[in-house]
Symmetry: C2
Subunit: 263 residues, 2 copies
């Protein structure tokens, strides 16, 4: 697979212009911006510069958060942005429990209804909605969509224009993974890599680079390719206080090395 | 449901003798010792004192750890201890990946084989083996048994003398929970309560008392009772640096209060 740089990986030191230049400088052919850096650069300017650089936009991070007020409008803006930069998909982090609520079923219904609400715009814009199951430890505050099975049930219901973003960090533990990856098949529209460290000292910001942890990434990669993922990119997305402190150029060198040895 | 005190809840300040006395003093009718405090007190002495105090032993924590060297012998000792104190079950924390390994499938096979190996002793001793699915965030280092579905598949395979220990902390996020609880039925042999705090600052030692977090404990309790759990006890098991720092008598008062309002 080819390498794609998710901009969150170097978010403390590089904005989107530096990420685009850095990807080119390091021979990384893909990029996946987060919306904050995209908006900071300006969507049109970013779209032009990414196009001129010849980079593939493997995804835009992120839509979703359907249990928050104003989510539908926010997702419409995200869809327009994803369209403008030619992103292969808009990655959905669906949202946790509503503020102050313990109603998990209600949160899941809000996600379902929110997705139904935005699909017409997404289809009209030609933007694929990539549902990303997030690790169950994020269920309360980030995503009540916790398993690939659950994501595929939603895809089945929502129909054309939907797919899944598979991040090894979120799904590696799932006893049902092989079966659900096979079920997903060509609906896998994004493949994200990073690693689970032992010990993990933060539930959000302690991810490892590929090879730093215990996930058998090559096995999952093979599973995903065999199932029918034809995207050809592995997107490196590292939320890590430890790696954010380093020089981004050195981080990219390390990622390129590990992309060969550990993905 | 009646209340049972899992000794880990006050482990920093009370050994097993103090836990037994504390349970009696606070009118808590159940107790669930961990093996370290049981061994420190002496198994025979503990058995006598628990019996004399009229406490129900809702479980012994813990057997399992099948991916560690010497696990089978260790589990045999645990079975003998569970028998000696008349524990309703021996709770199994099955073990994470083998040291230095990324072989998740192999770890699950080791768990399966280990359970098969110990079941004859467990049946002979009349000790019910309670498989406890642990939160997926513990998959690498504590338990590759991550879901109730997986635990029940193992129960189906192992047959008589097995059941599940259901801890709301580990399973609350599971989209398949209602269906699997119904499937479990009377095989639920232990029901553990605590809460998921937002934010959670430690993947092991930051559990909340019931009501401190976002788990709808009464809903899960109702589900479990309706499915056929007839044990009648809710066992409070709190691994928490914050609560370990408090006076255990005050912690028990708080737990009793919350047992009424939040379980």
């Amino acid at each position: 697979m080819q390498l794609s740089l998710n901009t969150v990986t170097v978010r403390e030191k590089w904005g989107l212009p530096a990420c685009i230049e850095g990807a080119v400088r390091h021979g990384i052919p893909g990029i996946a911006p987060w919306r904050d850096v995209l908006q900071a650069m300006g969507v049109e300017q970013a779209a032009k510069q990414i196009r001129d650089a010849g980079l593939t936009v493997t995804g835009l991070c992120r839509g979703g958060m359907f249990t928050q007020p104003g989510a539908i409008e926010e997702n419409r803006r995200a869809i327009a942005e994803a369209h403008a930069i030619g992103a292969r998909c808009l990655v959905m982090v669906c949202g946790g429990l509503a503020p102050g609520s313990k109603d998990l079923h209600g949160a899941r219904e809000a996600v379902r209804e929110g997705l139904h609400a935005i699909m017409p715009e997404a289809r009209a814009a030609g933007v694929t909605i990539a549902l990303e199951p997030l690790h169950p430890m994020t269920c309360a505050d980030r995503s009540v969509l916790s398993t690939l099975s659950q994501a595929l049930d939603l895809c089945d219901e929502l129909g054309a224009g939907t797919g899944v973003a598979l991040d090894v960090y979120h799904v590696w533990w799932d006893p049902d993974l092989a079966r659900q990856v096979a079920r997903a098949g060509s609906r896998i529209v994004a493949f994200h890599v990073c690693d689970w460290k032992v010990p993990t000292t933060d539930t959000v910001f302690d991810r490892g680079l590929p090879g730093e942890g215990v996930i058998d990434i090559p096995a999952i990669r093979a599973m995903v390719e065999q199932a029918g993922y034809t995207g050809g990119f592995a997107e490196v997305e590292i939320l890590s206080k430890r790696w954010w402190a380093e020089d981004p150029d050195e981080v990219l060198v390390e990622i390129k090395r590990r992309h060969v040895t550990a993905v």
